[in-house]
């Protein structure tokens, strides 16, 4: 050791500090990703035969798979349905509870409660809301003389029902980020703009919203990741049905891997998801980051 110069020692020291995190990341993120990528190039071996290399055949299959495209479409619809709504709602709630308000702490807590609930519990609550005969929504509808809807059984409304639940669950979580960001905006900015007779609407769009852009970007990426990560509440509520109407990408991966035992096809879908996510995230960061003001 004595022969090492101080620079070298510092480098080794630094590398050692990074080692635990690096080992964990490599074991549970990078290696599985590479394994998935390799897997997607094989067909599963049957009766003890080794898996056979087929190149891009799985990808060709994927392109012709109608169910995959339906699931992808569902997921796009799901993302478009949940992301802007939950972000807008989160921002609205944050602005509301950031103002002077009687019982502010209570309202904040109420907004945040859905986030604390485990997804499974939340899904079970909503099962009760959506239940066709005894459900809350249909009981209310019958009260005003409107025929009930089969919220989760009708292919035309099932996905929307799932979207509504997701928005309910996520908006409170995103609200916390907006609330923190709002409290970081100095109150003099609003006073200075009030002195010039700036309307609240104009102040929001010219000052508040631009200053919240870093938060919006962060929330946007999170919401996107959440949109393709949905498995648990589909388990409870619809199992992807009826007729794949609520089937989303990750659930489809799960089905292929563990219901149809087609691991390599599941790997192929996973690789596609990863690629799409990487592209979207890159675009977001390059396009939006340039317009975002960081303090």
């Amino acid at each position: 050791m004595a022969s090492l110069n101080p620079d070298r020692r510092m480098q080794i020291y630094g590398a050692l500090l990074m080692l635990p995190a690096a080992v964990l990341l490599a074991t549970f993120a990078y290696l599985p990703t590479i394994a998935t990528l390799i897997n997607s190039l094989f067909l599963p071996g049957f009766r003890g035969e080794p898996a056979s290399f087929v190149g891009l055949e799985n990808y060709a299959l994927l392109i012709e798979d109608d169910t995959f495209w339906q699931v992808a479409r569902n997921n796009l619809f799901y993302a478009v349905g949940t992301i802007p709504t939950s972000i807008a709602l989160a921002l609205g709630m944050a602005l509301f509870v950031n103002a002077r308000l009687p019982g502010r702490g209570f309202v904040r807590m109420a907004y945040f409660t859905p986030t604390i609930l485990p997804m499974i519990a939340a899904a079970n609550i909503w099962m009760f809301f959506y239940a066709p005969q005894i459900g809350l929504f249909n009981t209310l509808l019958e009260g005003i003389g409107v025929p009930g809807v089969n919220w989760l059984g009708d292919p035309a409304v099932a996905l929307s029902s799932v979207i509504v639940m997701t928005v309910w669950k996520e908006a409170g979580f995103f609200m916390i980020f907006y609330l923190a960001a709002l409290q970081g905006i100095p109150p003099e900015l609003e006073e200075a703009s009030n002195l010039e007779g700036t309307s609240r609407w104009s102040f929001f769009w010219r000052v508040t919203f631009p200053l919240l852009m870093p938060t919006t970007l962060f929330v946007l990426i999170n919401a996107l990741i959440n949109a393709v990560r949905v498995v648990d509440h589909l388990f409870i509520m619809t199992k992807g049905g009826p007729n794949n109407a609520t089937n989303l990408l990750l659930y489809y991966v799960y089905e292929n891997a563990f219901s149809f035992f087609d691991r390599t096809y599941a790997a192929t879908i996973t690789v596609v998801i990863l690629l799409v996510l990487a592209v979207v995230a890159t675009v977001k960061f390059t396009v939006l980051d340039r317009r975002t003001h960081y303090q």
């Binding site: 100095p186 003099e188 900015l189 006073e191 200075a192 703009s193 009030n194 002195l195 010039e196 007779g197 700036t198 309307s199 104009s202 010219r206 000052v207 631009p210 200053l211 852009m213 003001h293 303090q295």
Partner: protein, 410 residues
């Protein structure tokens, strides 16, 4: 206010400068007891530079914010020009304001920051640009219009805040400790610039500060506040020359005015712990005697109050001596660097018209008179009895510069 006098449609604002006048009538702000601002009244005439001075928590910022409309007065009326603006929102009062933190919009460029208010008031773009150029020229920001506030130095940010206040061409500008975030050198520079700008544009300015140097150097008039009330309202000279109370006396001047306790004795009031030399008539006993450090003469003469040098603080142009008189400590400011021996005896005297008497409550008492010093044989002579009482006027034979005393020499 007109930046260049060229805007036709703005000239109608100048009707008799009426809209530059501010009047406060028993304005009170009460969050809980005691009130933050307690029934204060004053009038500001057009084009005046008025300082609201006081220690932190005295209500000066709250007063300013009530004039701006950022706080609602609990009672009383605020008038700008002939309008009662007590209940008007800030944007309708025709004022601009410079904040202590500058309140610049961090995501906007300097140019956008400056024209922010003009956009809110829907001023057409060509006029916006024209006024921006004028103002940027006025505060020397032309080279920085595209920068973000984070890329500017403290002084430049200060200028942006100023530019934003003056581009609105409002006749009244409120400033809330605008220089307190700057370093000492820049502060001196900006003091002059703000004052020059105010004179050039004819603005009415109300300027809040706790810094008596800013108050003395910038204000046409200083309103000194304490605990939500006005202690004294006058020109800087008046505050310096004739402080209305012991508080006012101690707040203005650096180092502050010496305030020594007086006790009544046989021949008049004497400084507590120094019974030999009466300094004022007996009725002043129990009150305070105030003398500015720069008015005290330290010498080896035969007349005056005997004192002992405790230590000295050399400041370059002058030196602050700490002197023990009786059981109290006085500061004296002497020019240059006098040679001083600690512990050496000397005598102090002061021009009678430069000494002030305050009663036990700190109120100024002009009805009480001071006594002149008369000669006594030695610095520590105890011949107080030979002193004659004479009222006012400079005592004779009282040279300002110390003489050949071994203890103090210039």
């Amino acid at each position: 206010m007109n930046l260049d006098g060229a805007h036709e449609k703005d000239s109608e604002r100048d009707e008799g400068d009426l809209d530059k006048r501010i009047r406060l009538e028993t304005v009170t702000k009460r969050w809980d007891d005691p009130p933050a601002v307690d029934g204060i009244s004053f009038d500001v005439s057009p084009g005046q530079f008025v300082i609201l001075l006081g220690p932190s928590g005295c209500g000066k910022s709250t007063t300013l914010r009530m004039i701006a409309g950022l706080e609602q007065a609990s009672s009383g009326n605020i008038l700008i020009g002939d309008r009662d603006v007590t209940w008007l929102p800030p944007g309708d009062r025709g004022i601009s304001m410079v904040f202590q933190s500058y309140a610049l919009f961090p995501h906007l460029s300097v140019a956008d920051n400056i024209v922010f208010g003009l956009r809110s008031r829907k001023v057409p773009k060509p006029e916006r640009r024209e006024r921006l150029n004028l103002v940027a020229n006025l505060v020397d920001l032309e080279a920085y219009l595209d920068r973000k506030p984070a890329q500017l130095s403290g002084g430049q940010r200060q200028r942006v805040a100023l530019a934003r206040a003056i581009i609105s061409e409002h006749p009244i500008c409120l400033m809330d400790e605008p220089l307190s975030n700057l370093d000492a050198r820049l502060r001196g520079e900006m003091r002059r610039e703000i004052k020059a700008l105010q004179e050039r544009l004819g603005m009415t300015v109300i300027y809040v500060t706790h810094d008596q140097v800013e108050a003395m150097s910038m204000g046409d008039r200083v309103i000194l506040m304490q605990a939500g009330r006005i202690v004294q309202d006058g020109t800087p000279d008046e505050l310096y020359e004739r402080p209305a109370s012991a508080f006012a006396a101690s707040f203005i001047g650096s180092p502050a005015m010496n305030l020594v306790r007086l006790v009544a004795a046989e021949e008049g009031a004497v400084i507590e712990g120094e019974p030999r030399v009466p300094v004022a008539e007996s009725a002043a006993g129990g009150g305070l005697l105030g003398i500015r450090p720069e008015e005290i003469e330290v010498h080896a003469g035969a007349s005056g109050v005997s004192a002992e040098v405790l230590d000295e603080e050399y400041l370059g142009a002058d030196t602050i001596l700490r002197l023990a008189v009786g059981n109290q400590v006085l500061r004296a400011r002497l020019p240059g660097r006098p040679e001083v021996t600690r512990g050496s005896p000397c005598r102090l005297s002061w021009p009678l018209d430069k000494a002030h008497l305050f009663d036990a409550d700190g109120e100024r008492r002009d009805d009480l008179s001071l006594l002149a010093f008369t000669a006594s044989e030695t610095p520590h002579g105890s011949d107080a009895g030979s002193r004659a009482a004479s009222k006012a006027g400079n005592p004779p034979g009282n040279p300002r510069v110390a003489t050949s005393d071994p203890g103090v020499s210039p």
